[in-house]
């Protein structure tokens, strides 16, 4: 492939019509970008305005006297239901649920993918098909049986219970990711390691895992955003002290005592959304790279 082709440049005469089309393309893209960014801008602006500026003002007006007061209130004082301690504590709750759930589901998914591709057994395709089915089960369907199960296990209303629920649901997706990634890794690599005397876990740890970075990034980002943004399981299976931040945010916004504090609501929403934003900004390019990794021969 020539250099120009690989950079996506097609050599073509620049006629006026082509230039006009190109202009139109940019115009459409800019409009779309603005439309997507607008809510974020409104949220950010509202969250640093005092309440007095919000009620009469226009949504897009720049703050005249910017303040971090709403952020501080959202973090430490705002009322979520009966309590008035802000969303800060629930923010850490979310981390305490997300981090173990992401690590466990990614590891189990990697092991599953490895076993399903490199140690095929009779019925391995059926097992994979059934796991894949797990990706399409709507959350609502399992709410009651899951509540019952958590009760039996003594994990009701606990963080560990939520971790378990997210791991169980996440494995379907992480297995799919890793299975599709490992299918592209030549079996000869595993055969060579078998002849060299390595066993199941040794081959996984020494040969497969070191080349899995792209798909690990995909799995971590996917699982992190899924679990962080989860509301349904959070609201159904948590207790007062174990609520994730999404549930706390909902309670905060819906608390009906006193005047509606839009700036605090927006600040709380920003706090709840920040971690996923940060993860995307930091690792987003690896995400895309990982998703397309299988298509490029290494």
């Amino acid at each position: 492939m020539s250099d120009a082709m690989s950079r996506g440049q097609v050599i073509r005469r620049q006629t006026p019509a082509a230039k006009a089309l190109r202009g139109l393309l940019y115009a459409v893209l800019i409009v779309a970008a603005v439309a997507y960014l607008m809510p974020l801008v409104v949220m950010l602006l509202t969250s640093i305005k005092p309440l007095a500026e919000i009620t009469p003002g226009n949504l897009l007006a720049l703050p005249r006297s910017p303040t971090v007061e709403p952020w501080a209130k959202a973090w430490g004082e705002a009322c979520t239901g009966m309590r008035c301690e802000g969303v800060g504590g629930y923010f850490w709750n979310s981390f305490a649920i997300v981090i173990p759930a992401v690590i466990i589901s990614t590891l189990v998914g990697a092991l599953n993918g490895y076993a399903l591709t490199k140690w095929r057994f009779k019925g391995s395709n059926l097992v994979f098909a059934m796991m894949l089915f797990g990706c399409f089960i709507p959350f609502q369907v399992v709410l009651l049986p899951m509540a019952q199960t958590l009760g039996w296990l003594g994990l009701a209303s606990s963080r560990s219970g939520l971790v378990l629920v997210h791991v169980v649901f996440g494995i379907a997706f992480t297995t799919l990711f890793f299975r599709n990634f490992y299918v592209g890794i030549p079996d000869e690599l595993v055969n060579a390691a078998k002849l060299d005397g390595a066993g199941f876990f040794r081959i996984f740890w020494r040969i497969l895992l070191p080349v899995s970075a792209p798909i690990i990034v995909v799995s971590v980002i996917w699982q992190f955003t899924q679990i962080w943004n989860d509301f349904l399981f959070g609201v159904a299976f948590s207790g007062h002290d174990t609520q994730p931040v999404t549930v706390a945010l909902n309670n905060l916004v819906n608390t009906s005592t006193g005047a509606k504090e839009y700036n605090v609501d927006m600040a709380a929403a920003m706090i709840a959304a920040l971690p996923t934003l940060v993860v995307y900004v930091l690792a987003g390019k690896y995400f895309v790279r990982g998703l397309t990794a299988g298509s490029v021969k290494g």
Partner: protein
């Protein structure tokens, strides 16, 4: 004692029988090549020897021990893969030492082994590189180094040269032969390239449809093929097969070849090569096998063969010699003549055929008759 013995090996995938009654025995230090067209079962046989594929029935013995149901790690073998299968996350040093590390060899010994094979294969300067930083030929060397470091009883090579370009392939071929002569290792080598098979092997097993068609030295396989398949598979350009009718009787058999538009050609069969099988075939159609080099230009030669003449179809000079296509029988044959032949298409060329090296097959059963 045999280094490797394969006894009545069968292998089926479901209802497809991919290996049928394979029996091979090779001596220590022998270089055996499994050759055949793709899908003939040669790679499956190699995987069975390695223990990567379970067999359906039969027995595999390495160094006298029954290893049929042992894991690959327990068989004391090393394998060089077609794709090299170097561990991408490890350096060359790590790749070569991995097998020793898994066998809990002390670090100092591992280092010594790495150095030994690196010197042997001239890859000392590459030891700290990753496989992705190596060229195809270098990867090939590292893959062989990984096998050599372990000093196993048997080396398996699975089409190791097929990913290299033509020039490098010939170089590495010579190198493998040198290594074998120097180290006296026992090697089983799979290839679909009959030239590789001829040049490297002590013995060749020609396979088709899961069966060993013939097992013998390169010379036996080339000059004494047991059937039409082996005769046609080995040799490039391939052996010419010409329809001919057997005439005469014991001591003076002859083969009559009818070429449309030409006078019949009668080639006398050398009496010392008569076999009993011929007696019942007089008057019947036979398949006469003539290799391109069994033809030679008649000019200037004192007749060692039977004279014939034909109109030249195509002339293909290869540099070392000239290949000439001529009509003979129903089809065309290729003759290999000296590079100083300046014949041109359409001209009539006088040739002679060396019938002492010709072979005769039964056209129906495709087996050798004489």
């Amino acid at each position: 004692m045999s280094a490797l013995e394969i006894h009545q090996l069968h292998k089926s995938f479901g209802s497809t029988h991919v290996l049928k009654d394979v029996n091979i025995s090779i001596a220590s230090g022998e270089f055996l090549i499994l050759v055949g067209p793709s899908g003939c079962g040669k790679s499956t046989l190699m995987n069975a020897i390695a223990g990567l594929e379970p067999i359906t029935s039969g027995e595999i013995r390495i160094g006298g021990e029954d290893v049929t149901w042992r894991t690959p790690a327990e068989r004391d073998i090393a394998m060089v893969f077609q794709s090299y299968a170097l561990y991408p996350s490890m350096t060359v040093r790590g790749n070569i030492a991995f097998g020793l590390e898994m066998r809990k060899i002390p670090k100092a010994e591992r280092e010594a082994a790495v150095q030994r094979v690196a010197d042997l294969l001239q890859i000392s300067h590459l030891l700290d590189r990753k496989p992705s930083q190596l060229s195809g030929g270098q990867r090939q060397r590292v893959a062989m180094g990984r096998a050599l470091a372990r000093e196993p009883q048997i080396y398996l090579f699975d089409e190791p040269l097929s990913n290299l370009d033509a020039k490098l392939r010939v170089e590495m071929r010579t190198e493998i032969k040198k290594l074998h002569q120097r180290l006296g290792t026992t090697i089983v080598y799979v290839t679909h390239d009959q030239i590789e098979a001829m040049t490297l092997a002590d013995r060749i097993a020609v396979m088709r449809d899961g069966q060993v068609q013939q097992l013998g030295t390169p010379d036996e396989i080339y000059n004494n093929p047991v059937n039409v398949f082996v005769a046609g598979f080995m040799g490039s350009p391939a052996m010419n097969f010409v329809d001919a009718v057997l005439e005469g009787g014991r001591g003076n058999y002859a083969l009559r070849i009818s070429t449309p538009g030409q006078e019949d050609l009668v080639l006398p069969w050398p009496a010392e090569r008569d076999t009993d099988a011929l007696a019942s075939c007089v008057g019947q159609k036979m398949l006469l096998g003539l290799r391109p080099e069994h033809f030679s230009e008649a000019v200037g030669h004192s007749g060692a063969g039977t004279a014939m003449a034909a109109v030249i179809g195509v002339v293909e000079p290869t540099g070392a010699d000239v290949l000439i296509n001529l009509p003979l029988g129903e089809g065309e044959v290729t003759a290999r003549v000296g590079p100083d032949c300046h014949a041109r298409p359409g001209e009539r060329l006088e040739l002679q055929v060396d019938m002492r090296r010709a072979v005769l097959f039964d056209p129906q059963r495709e087996v050798r008759l004489a």
